[in-house]
Amino acid sequence: MENILTYMTFIPVAGMFVVMAIPRDRHNLIRQVSLAATIPPLLMAIWLYSNFDRTTTEFQYVVESAWMPAFNIQYILGIDGLSVTMVLLTALLCPICLLSSWNIEKGVKGYHMLFLLLDAAMMGVFCALDFFLFFIFWEVMLLPMYFLIGIWGGPRREYAAIKFFLYTQLGGVLMLISMLALYFYNDPHTFDMRVLMANAGTYTRGFQFIVWIALFIGFAIKIPAFPFHTWLPDAHVEAPTAISVILAGVLLKMGTYGILRINYPMLPIGTQECAFWALAVLGTWNIVYGALCAMAQEDMKKLVAYSSISHMGYVMLGMATLTPQGINGAVLQMFNHGTITAMLFLLVGVVYDRAHHRRIDGFGGLASVMPTYTGIMSIAFFAALGLPGLSAFISEALVFLGAWQYDHVLTIIAATSVVLTAGYMLWLLQRVWLGPVNEKYADMPDVTTREVVTLIPLAIIVLILGVQPHYVLDLINPTLLAINDTVATANAVAQATVLP
């Protein structure tokens, strides 16, 4: 099991090649093979969850080998408490997404090949411990995403796909430049993230500041933090359901993951200088702005997309506080948002598959038409608005606990969104599921077994984490405390070594 991370990353690639060999009209076989390729990583993720050492802050299951010795580029994979949650989330969501895209009929072969490539790249991003490797996976992810939105998306898919592509690519270039700057700053030059972190004390203040900002823009585009968020509503609305789930469930997390993995430990002084404006203020703005925008939407998917912007704001605010509660809350929120938003998009997809539109005012009284569906839906909705007893409540509460110690004003502003979120969620619920039955959809069939299978695992996680959050907190806590310490003590360390 030493190479478990390699297997998790590359089994989907192997699956992609198998799919490539299948004749293109064998649709069901393609679907089954693709699903089969995502099951081993899921099983391995479960194994990882039970065998993960929760006491250490070291990287675990590390594999290392030289890749390009001349440039000191290595192939290093490894996980710690921060990445293991994201690996779990990715491994969980990929089979679910493949199940939910069972009804795709156009270019089945291409769709599944691209999806498996995307799966591998996402897993790679979370496992990579070599900055170069991280960057490769980060960029490779773009290509399948572009095609998946652009070919299988909605009416304005081309615009959405290219917008997503260009935004992320621009961020990628900034990351490339920052990566090289870090590489040449260290002597001997290296991309090994562990060394880059260990040498964090030697980077000058000005260097840290500039590189921090450049990396932050790259990651902020992915989060997406205001004002780099405009690609998200477009991409989400146009993408097919499964891809929206991946976008919201995994890709957005990469932004905050990158900040915690790279900016925090490698550029601690930069973090201290920038965290307030770049993370806390923008995060709070994200929370309120996203919620207000969500309230004004007439398209269910767009509403969920804006709610994502709002919820990712909690992550930013939480990690900006540099308190144990805040940073733990932030990562827990990353995980929770991944599961809850995935549910929301899947639920919207269920209605869309039947009605072929998502207008909020086009429905009514669905609760009496589709009772099972409404039951599952209510879990997701109440989780999203932060009802105590469901998972998001814990993470949001932790974020607010941290934030209150950090800045009272921001906390109060951010807290107003609790009301706003309840507002748009309940209003949506009321307009679509309650009220008189819309005769047009009076005989809409309830959820199928396949759809239930995609939703139930997520619902169970949401329920369990609502009462037993330590199932995740135990995993992440030691690592996050260590990262938090690095940043919090950076100034003291810098003063001791007299950095300019």
Binding site: G107, E139, E158
Partner: protein, 492 residues
């Protein structure tokens, strides 16, 4: 090693093969009635020249023909690349419908002669030889670009090429004469020594270097000497366009580097180079590099003809390559050599796909690519996507690795502004490459769009180039070490 005329012949096998092949194909044209074999003879010859060039690696290095020509690992690298460019061009010509009813004998003779000239461009170590080689390549390129005699566009391309070329080489000769006046020699090594000693002449030297840049820059389509590129690329027969885009640019770069590095700069420690005092051509070239890539990319955005789009993209790529030129370090040169090879693979590949579409549809506008992925064989569309992503610099492709090396070289010298400009350009590049990809994958084919039927000949070339693009994007150690080994100049 410093050989006279006769002894040098023993070390001129690649050039010899090409020269003999020119004569043989010319004779075959007269003596043999069957015209369809000429191309294969040409292919054999140019592949042989390439192999002979590769075999020179590791052999003795030195001056040939009384210090007119250098035989060093730098020249050998370019002989291999140019030989490969020739192979690609001949292969594409054999599979081109455009050239089917043209006179094949003449065509291949001129193509081989042009390759021969490029070999000498890469190895000339004397201004006179450099000028002759460059003119030789120019003259043959004019004929090649005007080879479609019935096509007005082709003739127009040849004429424009000729006029621009005449002006540029005029300026270059003037610059060379200034250099000769200052130093009394045409030999690079002597020029280097005497310029370093000449004090107070900095403005004249600067002017001379700028004038010489006009000639070299015109060959690599560097702004502001790029104006010919779009028209010529559009008008010339497609295999010729590909040959000019890849071969002409590589030969021009070789010439530029040999004159500006071992010629007028001196080697410093640590693999860096020291330019002449008070002659800031480096600063000038940083600006030129930035402007070249930006202008090329911005102009490419609005093109509807794929050949024209690739022409502007090749201007932009000249700018990227110059990033490796301006840093004055071996690291930069290595990055540049790597990029040239990567550029050869991906750009030739892109042109090969355009050729397949052109053969099938007779069109070369972007709309001809509409729904290409859904029109029968998916190879051209998928291959084109890979080549374009490589040109845009996305991993895991050879183009990304090349760009990565260039960025690394520039950032190592702390030229952050140039890196930022190049970064923005990468995003612009992606935008217009994605236009073609969008057309191929995101649009549905319409009634009347012909189904793609794959022919073996072109598919082999495209397939091979795709494999290299991806393989070198994942495992590029052999290429980068080959580029690193090729930095030994004779008489530097």
């Amino acid at each position: 090693m410093d050989l006279g005329n006769v002894e040098s012949l023993a070390y001129s096998l690649p050039e010899g093969i090409l020269a003999v092949a020119v004569l043989v194909v010319l004779m075959l044209e007269v003596l043999v009635r069957r015209k369809d074999m000429h191309g294969y003879w040409a292919l054999l010859a140019v592949a042989g020249a390439c192999a002979a060039g590769a075999m020179q690696a590791g052999g003795p290095q030195g001056w040939l023909f009384n210090r007119m020509v250098a035989l060093d690992s730098f020249a050998i690298f370019f002989k291999i690349v140019l030989g490969l460019a020739g192979v690609g061009a001949v292969w594409m010509s054999l599979g081109s419908k455009e050239l089917e009813d043209q006179n094949p004998g003449e065509y291949y003779v001129i193509l081989l002669a042009c390759t021969l000239g490029m070999f000498y461009m890469a190895s000339a170590s004397n201004l006179l030889m450099a000028y002759l080689a460059l003119e030789f390549v120019s003259q043959t390129s004019y004929i090649l670009s005007g080879f479609l005699k019935q096509s007005r566009r082709s003739s127009e391309a040849a004429l424009k090429y000729l006029i621009y070329g005449g002006v540029a080489s005029g300026a270059m000769v003037y610059g060379m004469s200034l250099i000769f006046g200052l130093t009394g020699s045409l030999d690079y090594a002597v020029i280097g020594e005497r310029l370093a000693a000449a004090e107070g002449n900095a403005p004249v030297i600067f002017v001379a270097l700028v004038l010489i840049l006009a000639g070299f820059g015109y060959k690599i389509s560097m702004v502001p000497f790029h104006m010919w590129a779009p028209d010529v690329y559009e008008g010339a027969p497609l295999p010729v366009t590909a040959f000019l885009a890849v071969g002409s640019k590589a030969a021009g770069i070789a010439m530029l580097v040999r004159f500006f590095y071992p010629g007028v700069s001196t080697m410093g420690g640590d693999g860096t180079w020291v330019p002449l005092e008070n002659v800031d051509w480096q600063g000038l070239m940083v600006i030129v590099a930035g402007v070249t890539m930006t202008l090329g990319n911005l102009a490419a955005i609005r093109q509807d003809n794929v050949k024209r789009l690739l022409a502007y993209s090749s201007v932009a790529h000249a700018g990227y390559m110059l990033m490796g030129f301006v840093v004055l370090s071996n690291q930069g040169l290595q990055a540049m050599l790597f990029y040239i090879l990567a550029y050869y693979i991906m750009n030739l590949g892109a042109f090969a796909v355009v050729l397949m579409v052109l053969n099938r549809t007779g069109r070369e506008d972007i709309q001809a690519f509409r729904g290409l992925a859904w029109r029968g064989g998916a190879l051209p569309a998928c291959a084109m996507a890979i080549f374009l992503f490589s040109l845009a610099g996305l991993p895991p492709t050879a183009g990304f690795v090349g760009k990565f090396y260039l960025f690394a070289a520039v950032i190592h010298e702390h030229m952050y502004a140039l890196a930022a400009v190049a970064g923005v350009n990468t995003a612009i590049g992606l935008y217009y490459y994605a236009r073609i990809i969008r057309e191929m994958f995101l649009e549905d084919p319409q009634e009347g769009d012909p189904v793609m039927v794959l022919d073996m000949h072109n598919s082999v070339l495209v397939g091979a180039l795709v494999i290299f693009t991806v393989v070198f994007g994942v495992y590029w150690a052999p290429v980068s070490s080959m580029a690193a080994r090729s930095l030994l100049f004779i008489g530097g």
